[in-house]
Structure formats: structure tokens, C-alpha cells
Symmetry: C2
Subunit: 341 residues, 2 copies
DNA sequence: CCAGAGTGCTCATACGTATGAACGTGCAGC
DNA sequence: GCTGCACGTTCATACGTATGAGCACTCTGG
């Protein structure tokens, strides 16, 4: 029971293989309707179906887009970082008629996934690949780029001597707008709570924060922002007695800690202090923090579009794109208390 | 910047293309270590990577497994049916070094996905495919089978004139054991709450239920089981006053309705009536029903193994497999009330 | 009646790989 | 010195498709 080929169809229809190829792939300018009909009938009778591999070999195109995460996708997906991106990726791929390859074969025993393994890069199976993962390996990225492989990376990733095309949440602008909106509410004195971990991931947010503070002539003297350990008892005491009316926290976790620290001192949010967070709300339906929302699904879609643009037009310049983040109002920001106005 | 081919590697290493092919694909019986080294070095230097399409064309093998769902995977995945299956599929594929192709390109405007579209079956890009989805289209399945395409289906799916290899939760045995365990608790009189929708999906469960009832000489006179509308006021009245001490419900939803219907009549679960459910617990952390658990992740893994077994050994008979379901204790089963003993 | 254009189709080839067959070399055994 | 054999390597081909070039024929216009 072997799959029929174009040549089988051709024999049945009494034409050549190339005529069949022309009909099935739509190049029918010079093939009269009657012949087309005969060929189509033969196709149907034999149940002919084009061989994707042969087509690909011939065409260099696959309509296949890779998705490479540096960790397993599904196992963590429920609450996970990746999940929403994948939503957008799948959705958009489906819309434009591409299939997705999940590169799972590149896993190592330690649970990490590498692109290159014993010198082999499976990725080239796809026309192009979306890379994502906080733990993206710089060296591999650099090599991939130097090899001229077509890819986009979700999230900012700077690599020396390579210009990685990234789809980046516009944290700079979002942090700036967040501060601006606090200032518009009347806040003048700010503190910044930084996470300490992963310097690079928060660099944009810090830049946006600082830019807004300076542009608007606001005051900030938060120790955390100067790199010292934050959320210590001393820090909290200082905050409680200081002029600050607004705190910008990098993570929800920090904000929660802050809340308890303040409660001990008899202060509440937002009555005494407004707090906004520089990351999206988690799934845990806790306090409704004022925060920014990374449009992950949207980013997934954009990544696919950026990739496909280059796949379909190789002359296209690889560029990074910023994607705007929305600010969402919660219940943790209010006007400054009158006592401090 | 074109991808290097074996012939490029060969030129650099000073050997023939076929020698390169032999080394990269492991057929090295008659190639001395020294030559292998030279070739490997050239491979590395050029960053050679095998062309999947050409390989596939030549071999009929890809180390690529398809995943075809008849609806979008990710969009619903959080709470969804598919999710756990995919977990297992990805996990197992990773372990054995296969990549996964998500067939998304086959979507139609109505949101359904078909395998065959304008005569083209994209699936044949992969070595074999795992199909899943409650709404699986029978005609397409039949055609796929008749075309000799390699696949397994998750969930039972019967198609005339075709023997679809399926991975099937063993609902028959699970339902039987569930009844048996109720009987061991002392229950003699049972009622069965059926969902009315999707006859086929619950057929196995009904069979297992009935088998246990008959084998153990138990009593059942539930109208629902005879196909009449269930959970009517009359039905509830009858149940409340009848000899039944245990109800087996097909879905959690039905069980919940039952609970409220009983509450109105002053009866509670499990004090007055034990209730067990023939489907797994949802994510909603409501009442802890006694129920069965479909080992979805496990099934995903098994599907991959079954598929790969046939991919790697085409003589292998396509067979369906039953996978045992676990029963989990909840808080809705107890001994029958003494008044009815 | 011939040049030129158009029509309907086929020829030949390339895509990159894997592999059975064949080839040349060196060496052991008789 | 010839046969036989193992070894190391290459040759040649097939997989199924797409497509530019080309061929044979018909028609149109001058």
C-alpha cells in the first residue's frame, strides 16, 4: 500500500508527470480545462497527496515554524511564563497556515535544552524559529546568529557581536508611564523596591523609572534603587517616617512583603502609601495590585509575524520590536494622604 | 549564506559525499577512526546540519512526530482536556529524542481542523502522528487509515471498515471496580445518572457499571440508565423514597445537581446517599467527589511509545491499548445509612 | 506562403541524502 | 605468483517534486 506519486497519476491520466505537478500546484496557465479535469479525476481516484518532504526539498520552504524553549513547555505551562506566549504563537501560526515544530529532541539529561548538540542543529528543519526562555544561552544564540539562521527571540537578549532580533515588552515606557500616572495623582516622593535578582531582566524598568523621576523633577531616595539590600527593618522604618507616598515594586512578591511590613507599623495601602508593581498579575487571585500587563499573547503573535516576514522575504532586515505594555488599575494606588501633601 | 551540504563537508575533508553521509548517520563499520575524525572536524567547522527534508525523502524517517488536535491546543489548555495528554507527549518525545510537529496549518475558518485540505495531507511530513480530540472526524480517520498513514488515536474511536489503533482509558474496568468498591461498603441498591449527551463517550463506563451490577447481583432501577430524562423532580422524589443508597454519576456536573436536589429534600451526601463520579475531578476545587482518574499524562506517554514502536518497526501490528484508571477516594462515599441496611 | 505568436504539452534537471554495488589496494596463504 | 579476502572509499542511483527550456503544432496577419 504505497502512496501514489505524481507519476502514477500521470500514467492514469495519460499525461506527463510535469503536467500533473502543474495542475496540483496551480500553475495551470497553459493547461486546458479538459486536461485539468482528467488529471484531477485521476488524482481523486488514486487518492494522491503531495509528498511534503519532496516539496520541501525542492522548494526550500516548509511552512514550518520552530518553537524552541530552553525548558519543557507543557510541564510548567499552567502557571507558567511561557503559556500565554504560546497561545499567541499557535493562534497566529494557524491563521496564516503554518505548522509549528516543538523542538523537544534537543533535551539533555539535566533538563536543559540546547540548540546545538554534538554539532547538530535540528532547528534548521523549520523555516525559522521563535526562541523563548529566560535562561536562553548566550553562546548558542551567538552561534545561531553567526550561522545566519532565521529566528526571533522573545524578550530582550543582548549578545556581543550579534544583533539578535527580539520582541521586547516596552518596559521603559511602561515604567515611565506608571510613575507619570502616580505623579498625576499628586505623588512627589517615591521609593523603588528592587528585586536584587536578575539584573538584566529589570534594567529597562529601572531605566524607565529613573527617566520619569528625573523628567518630572520627582524625589527618590530609596536605598533599594541604589543597590543596597531592601525591605530591611531599617528601610521600612525609614519609609514609614519619610516623606515618600508612593512605592514602585519590581515584583508582586516584594509588594506583598511590603504590605505586611507596613501593617506592622500601622500603615495601610493605599491609604497611607500607594504601591504599584512593575510586573503583571500572577494567577493567584490575591490583592489587586496596580501593575503593568505584558501582552504575552500579542507578543507571541508579533513574533510569528516578524519571523514569517523574514521567511517570506529573506531580504527583510532583522529588527527588534518593542511592544507596548498596558497599565492596569488595581486597588493599591490612591492620592497621597493629606498629612503628607 | 547557504546551509552547507554533505558535499561541502566532503570537499573540505577530502573525501566523498557518501563517506560523509556514512559518518553523520553512524554507518561507520568500515571507516577508520582517523577519517571519521577528519570528517567530524569538517562538519563542525562548516556547521553542517542534515537536511531533514532530503533525509525524509530518502528514508521515510524524520524523528518527527505529529500532534494533531481537532481544535486549537493552547487556547483552551489551562483547564482543558488536552493539556495533560500533551504533557506526557512532550515529556516522552523529549526522552526518546523526537521532535513534535503541531499541526496547526490545517485550520479552517470555522475553527475546526481537518487533516485533508484541498487534497493535501500535511501530516505525512511527520513519521507518524498522535491524534486527539473528542470531535475527531470519522471520515478523515477512515481515509487516513486507508491511506496507510501511521497514527494512534487517544481515546476510543470506532470507524467502520477501519481498525483505528487507540489508546483508551479502561473505563469498563474502572466503572466495574467503582461499583465493586461501593458494594464492598455494603451498598446493594444503585442508581445511575447518565449525561444524555455523547452516547459513545460513556458507552464503556455504562458497560462496566452494568457488568458489575449483574455480576454482583446488585439492584439498579434508575430511570436515567434506561435512557429517560434524569434528574427530574419525579426522579429525585423516587430516589429519596426508594431503597437506593448509592448513585453513580457520569459527570461532576450531574453530581452537583444531585447534591442540591437532595438537599432540598433534606438528604445529604454521603450520610444518606453515597455518590461516586465516573470522570476525573476538574480543576475547580469544589467538593471532593469519589471518582476515577484518567491518567492523561501517562496516556500521552503511552501514545508516543505505541507510535514510535510502529515507526521504528513497520511490521509491528497496530493495536489498541487499554490504560488502567485509578479510583480516588473523596468525601462522598460512606456506608449505607443504617435505616436502609 | 511565411514570419511570428500563441497553445499544449514534455524533457531534463536539481534539490540533499542514503546505500548497495563496485573498485582498488595491500596482504596472507598456498 | 596467483587467489582470496578484508579494508577503505567511491560510484551511481533513487526518493518525489517543481520548473525553465524546448518542441510540435495551430492560427493570424501581411
Amino acid at each position: 500500500m504505497k502512496a501514489p506519486r505524481q507519476s502514477d497519476v500521470a500514467r492514469l491520466a495519460g499525461v506527463s508527470q510535469s503536467a500533473v505537478s502543474r495542475v496540483v500546484s496551480g500553475d495551470i496557465d497553459r493547461i486546458p480545462a479538459e486536461t485539468q479535469e482528467r488529471i484531477r479525476a485521476a488524482v481523486k481516484e488514486l487518492g494522491y497527496v503531495p509528498n511534503a518532504a519532496a516539496r520541501n526539498l525542492r522548494n526550500k520552504r516548509n511552512r514550518l515554524l520552530g518553537v524552541h524553549t530552553f525548558e519543557a513547555v507543557f510541564p510548567h505551562a499552567r502557571e507558567d511564563f511561557y503559556f500565554e506566549f504560546l497561545l499567541g504563537i499557535e493562534e497566529r501560526a494557524e491563521e496564516i497556515g503554518y505548522d509549528l515544530v516543538l523542538f523537544t529532541s534537543t533535551g539533555t539529561s539535566d533538563g536543559r535544552r540546547r540548540i546545538y548538540r554534538n554539532g547538530t542543529n535540528r532547528l534548521n528543519l523549520a523555516d525559522g524559529t521563535v526562541l523563548l526562555g529566560a535562561a536562553t544561552d548566550r553562546e548558542e544564540l551567538a552561534r545561531l546568529w553567526h550561522d545566519g539562521y532565521l529566528f526571533v527571540h522573545i524578550g530582550r537578549r543582548e549578545v556581543a557581536d550579534a544583533e539578535i532580533p527580539c520582541i521586547i515588552p516596552d518596559y521603559v515606557s511602561a515604567a515611565d508611564r506608571l510613575v507619570t500616572s502616580l505623579a498625576e495623582r499628586g505623588h512627589q516622593h517615591f521609593a523603588y523596591l528592587h528585586s536584587g535578582i536578575d539584573q538584566e531582566a529589570y534594567a529597562d524598568r529601572r531605566a524607565g523609572y529613573r527617566a520619569a523621576i528625573e523628567r518630572l523633577g520627582l524625589h527618590d531616595r530609596s536605598p533599594g534603587f541604589r543597590g543596597e539590600p531592601e525591605l530591611t527593618e531599617e528601610w521600612l522604618d525609614e519609609l514609614a517616617s519619610g516623606p515618600e507616598t508612593a512605592v514602585v515594586a519590581e515584583t508582586v512578591g516584594l509588594a506583598e512583603q511590603l504590605r505586611t511590613g507596613l501593617a506592622v507599623r500601622g500603615l495601610s495601602i493605599p491609604a497611607d502609601l500607594s504601591v504599584a508593581v512593575l510586573e503583571g498579575p500572577g494567577n493567584e487571585a490575591g490583592h489587586r495590585w496596580d501593575c503593568l500587563v505584558v501582552p504575552r499573547k500579542e507578543i507571541g503573535r508579533i513574533a510569528i509575524d516578524a519571523l514569517v516576514a523574514r521567511v517570506e522575504n529573506p531580504d527583510e532586515e532583522p529588527v527588534s520590536r518593542l511592544v507596548a505594555c498596558e497599565l492596569v488599575a488595581g486597588e493599591t494606588v490612591a492620592a497621597p494622604p493629606q498629612s503628607k501633601e
